[in-house]
Symmetry: C2
């Protein structure tokens, strides 16, 4: 029997990845395009899927893992719609509108929920019942998957805006978040690092005292995720996490912050198996989007 | 048709509430006893349920909402067992052992998860899809219910140990948590308040500047719950929350901390409908325990 086809979109702030896979996960067509306005991107998205359908037959379900903020509540009338994003043209854009002509069910979730799902299925989160995937890059966000389903409340989580302790006598940088100043994203995302020191941590040569400062802020989120979600593992990806020595420093700072309070086999001494980098690298998002499409089809 | 009977235990640090209810929720027998060691309490628990069964017939399921730390993972071999509690005699005690003679299924969850479930069913959390119930008393803890089920990861949450920003030039108190010093519980639980000022906030006359200081710490948890769980409502109960003016101060501090970033109808201006006190008062826990027993029976 021929397997049905699944359509997938990983919509990132800088690029879109489009794929069509068989239900087994085998990718039969893939392309990338630069993120511009919806008026520029969406026709290319439609053209790609039209061509694959002409070549291979109909698509049974679509999965979208997208940047946000975006409404990911299937019960909402605005499901799949970008909400308050400052990205020009995106507020009000809706994935279902462009995918509607293919007459297949669509599931829309966030990029980090998609990556969490991908890592849980095929990456560093395999075997976990509860998994948290955090990206530290241009922004900071976390997806939490439990029993194979991304969690949410009335909206997707916004973990980048937690407020870590910030000692201005050590780090006088006021923080770069337009809403909160020195929230985590304002202190430790890529733009905050370059605003503070003029270069990325890697470009600066990854000096230990600077790496430790940023690691301390990220560890505040790591500890908060432990205390508020008790995940079986924490994955940290994104551009900033590629800084040499950073993940090790995050492990040390998180272990210090937890202070031995949580006793569990998951939290191994040194946290080497608890706080890890992604297993799929940059493929986590599209892998998760394909899984969302598979769920949509079933 | 006669309704089946449900057994319920709310196990608190100072008292136990025992109840037997019909499936409709109607309580037909109830008693209270002081929490001492398991060797002292457990025979009284058994005697109560034996008597009710002799009078009214068998119990179809038991629900337990207990202080912790306690293993609440139904898949764990130690399900229902107290883990690392410093309370004399309780580490290793297990509810299933004492309820075993009644040959009915048992569900064990935390006191705050039980209270969250009770408030969601019949109290201030009615109509919420995701609800967070936090107690601020001798300790600080939160239960999060989503779609009628308490959430957990590899263990129950431990929200009392998040670390709020702590400016020692304003509040020189070093914090009273034996693990973390100035975590939330170390700064804002009842014992931390009396250690700092010699009396409770209410005994001190609820001076606004002291109320605001404590509210700021609690608001750190409130904002973290929003960012990491996006609940439809936050309920704050427990002895400390009975301080006049405290809930209002928590609303103000939480709104300030969120900085207008989260736009949602749930977060009404002023947060009067978002951050609320319990609707069931001290009945939330036993109401939730009865619901856990109903789930166990079905």
């Amino acid at each position: 029997m021929t397997q049905r086809l699944i359509g997938a979109i990983e919509a990132g702030g800088t690029k879109f990845v489009l794929a069509v896979a068989r239900e087994s996960g085998e990718v039969i067509a893939e392309t990338r395009l630069a993120t511009r306005t919806p008026a520029e991107c969406f026709p290319e998205v439609i053209a790609f899927f039209r061509q694959v359908i002409a070549d291979h037959g109909p698509i049974a379900g679509f999965g979208v893992a997208s940047f946000g903020p975006i409404d990911i509540d299937p019960a909402s009338p605005r499901y799949g719609t970008f909400t308050t994003t400052p990205k020009p043209g995106w507020a009000g854009a809706r994935f279902q509108d462009i995918l509607g002509e293919f007459q297949a069910p669509v599931i829309v979730d966030t990029d980090v929920n998609g990556a969490a799902l991908g890592e849980w299925l095929q990456g560093a989160g395999q075997g976990c019942h509860t998994l948290a995937y955090t990206t530290v890059g241009t922004g900071i966000g976390t997806g939490v998957v439990r029993a194979g389903r991304p969690l949410m409340g009335f909206s997707h989580y916004e973990t980048g805006h937690v407020q870590p302790p910030h000692d201005r006598s050590v780090d006088p940088f006021p923080g770069g978040c337009p809403f909160h100043g020195d929230c985590l994203e304002g202190l430790a995302a890529g733009p905050a690092i370059t605003a503070r020191w003029g270069q990325s941590l890697s470009e600066l040569g990854s000096p230990p005292e600077k790496v430790d400062l940023i690691a301390g802020y990220i560890a505040h989120l790591a500890a908060s995720l432990v205390l508020l979600h008790m995940p079986d593992r924490l994955i940290f990806g994104g551009g900033v996490m590629k800084t040499p020595g950073l993940i090790e420093a995050v492990r040390r700072a998180t272990e210090a912050r937890l202070g031995g309070y949580i006793q569990a086999p998951q939290l191994d001494p040194g946290l080497e198996h608890y706080i890890v980098t992604p297993g799929l690298g940059d493929l986590a998002g599209i892998t998760g989007a394909i899984e969302l499409g598979r769920k949509a089809a079933n």
